[in-house]
Symmetry: C2
DNA sequence: AATTCGAATGTGCACGTTCACATTACTCGA
DNA sequence: TCGAGTAATGTGAACGTGCACATTCGAATT
């Protein structure tokens, strides 16, 4: 009969709990994992012992024995962007609420080698699933070709079939923006697109093209940007020479803001000479001058859906099918009704 | 001699490597952990076997055996803010480069209960160290009172002694901003501060007060904001009635931008009627109208330092002592020289 | 050639959990 | 009253690594 009055250095283990509750360690394990065949009175005794000892199962041991880690990997390419950041925060919250931890991995670049290495690293950490927030076509191609065994859910893919449920209808959002401009009487609407490889860039451009086509207006060749305000700034200065353009739909708010800056420097007034609308509704959009019209997407909700979806796959349940998230048009000063042409 | 042509379901273990290299598993372990007493030829044989089998040590097993996880916890309160986000990305990169993974935990609120629970959660994940990005005095008090065994490094603490080396000199930054305004001839400078509990808010306010005092100017009672552009907007409308104020130093860019919005709505022109300077240099600051003067802090460098510092503590080495990071004053349109008073 | 000592390597167990299987307790019907 | 069948619990062995200790090897010293 060992004297047990000593101060314990180590945290309590499952066997300590078992001893205190006068059961076997396996019974404790059953209580923890909600096995059905446990007498209510026994369960209570175990739970009491757990509380008394402030016992928490050791995740490393659990992972080793069960090869389940309760860890979700986030593979991201573009942290710093507003949308990505919001989504990540939401994912982390949602995951914690369900007992999962998050391991983030930010891609240094999106070469196939880097992507492959990143995925291998996450896989090696034995994550139970991966959420991909790297909306570049290339990334999906690489990951698809890797023959992974861990489930992967990606935000904003519009290429595959099943990932649709974790996407916002960006094409629709872009259409809403462009149709809004057309509704104001603009017929010469230019699009500043995102980089070629980006899925979101493609969807938004597609929305632009569709809206123009349906309104029977000639679509202008889009300009490829890189999402940054600096690029928008540059483009604005270049474009101000072209008097034929009366409205611009920029693929994100940062480029829209830079664009307005460029216009301003060149003497073109927004919205009087040219209207500008962005995409994302970043927090400053409502406060800059002129306040920026834009399209809002609930990135946080997207993140939560990704977690729900992924956990369903992990637990081999049917993943709930969501409709694509509907963006919201936010009209502000940068697209007020312009004087109709004489 | 076992036939080994079978397809393996499980990844290779340390014993598989040992068998292939004709050594004991312990020798493999020594090679992995860079034990000095290994014959070069043996090491090479082991390394070859590792490459052949694409072996990677199992983190869960390693954590269980050594109770070291190679995991760093990030406790954050304010993701979404530009500075925090930049720092987190940098931390993650720096940590990965040194073989550590990151577990992020975003505080839902900063009540002592939530903080305690968060820290306990991280501790229970057996993180080797924690980086705190929750610059509220309260948070440190709670954590300090917890008697933690894992090393904690926090960004931007100015209360304790040793954490100084992972901080930017925000007080200096604030002084630079205010002295800049004073240099332009302003004597009635108002400060829009951050929330009371925030260390950064206090440092920036202190810088304001010091600069005013040294210039022999009366410091106006600061207004407490909440970091958001919306608050700045509100404050701007309120303040525009006060004609005595000719310059405002806002504790961050978002409030500065909102403030300019409020002024604009009330008919006060920036910088002609009132100058505004912010803090952070968020990406849009250079592109809004008027372009925003501000103070730039290298948050990414701060994050890298935090990692360096923390790993040194974990490895029981002397932590390198950095000087506080020096902020940089960025002068733009919002604080151009104003007409001197008649 | 024997002795010594450090370098190089091997052996077995511990870490804390889950899994497969074994055992005991209880319920119900004949 | 007994057996069958299921509910409830227990036993021992993994999982893959690091640690403490034991052993062997080799060269230098006497």
């Amino acid at each position: 009969m060992p004297a047990n009055g000593e101060a314990r250095a180590r945290p309590a283990s499952i066997r300590d709990v078992a001893r205190l509750a006068s059961v076997s360690h396996q019974t404790v394990s059953r209580v923890l994992n909600e096995h059905p065949s446990i007498r209510a009175e026994t369960r209570q005794r175990v739970l009491d012992a757990i509380r008394t000892l402030d016992y928490r199962p050791n995740p490393a041991a659990r992972a080793l024995a069960s090869s389940r880690t309760n860890l979700l990997g986030i593979l991201s390419a573009t942290v710093g962007e507003y949308g990505t950041t919001s989504a990540i925060v939401a994912i982390e919250r949602a995951a914690r609420e369900r007992g999962y931890s998050i391991s983030t991995l930010n891609l240094p670049d999106s070469t196939p080698a880097a992507i492959g290495e990143a995925v291998r690293l996450l896989q090696h950490e034995q994550v139970d699933g991966i959420i991909v927030l790297a909306p570049q076509v290339r990334v999906y191609n690489v990951i698809g070709g890797l023959g992974l065994t861990v489930p992967v859910v990606s935000l904003q893919t519009s290429t595959g079939g099943d990932a649709e449920s974790v996407a916002a209808d960006q094409m629709l959002g872009a259409r809403m923006a462009v149709e809004h401009l057309i509704g104001l009487g603009h017929s010469d609407v230019l699009h500043i697109a995102g980089p070629q490889d980006w899925i979101e860039a493609e969807s938004r451009m597609r929305g632009y093209l569709d809206a123009m086509f349906e309104a029977d207006l000639p679509a202008l060749p889009p300009i490829r940007g890189d999402w940054t305000a600096d690029f928008g700034h540059f483009a604005g200065r270049e474009l101000s020479a072209r008097r034929d353009i009366t409205a611009v739909f920029a693929a994100n708010d940062l480029m829209a803001i830079g664009l307005m800056h460029g216009f301003r420097e060149a003497g073109a007034r927004v919205p009087d000479d040219v209207c500008v609308i962005g995409f994302d509704d970043i927090p400053v959009a409502a406060h800059i001058w002129p306040t920026l019209s834009t399209v809002r997407v609930d990135f946080a909700e997207l993140g939560r859906r990704a977690v729900t979806h992924l956990l369903a796959i992990i637990d081999r349940q049917d993943a709930p099918v969501f409709e694509m998230l509907r963006p919201e048009l936010i009209v502000r000063e940068s697209t007020t009704r312009r004087a109709t042409r004489p």
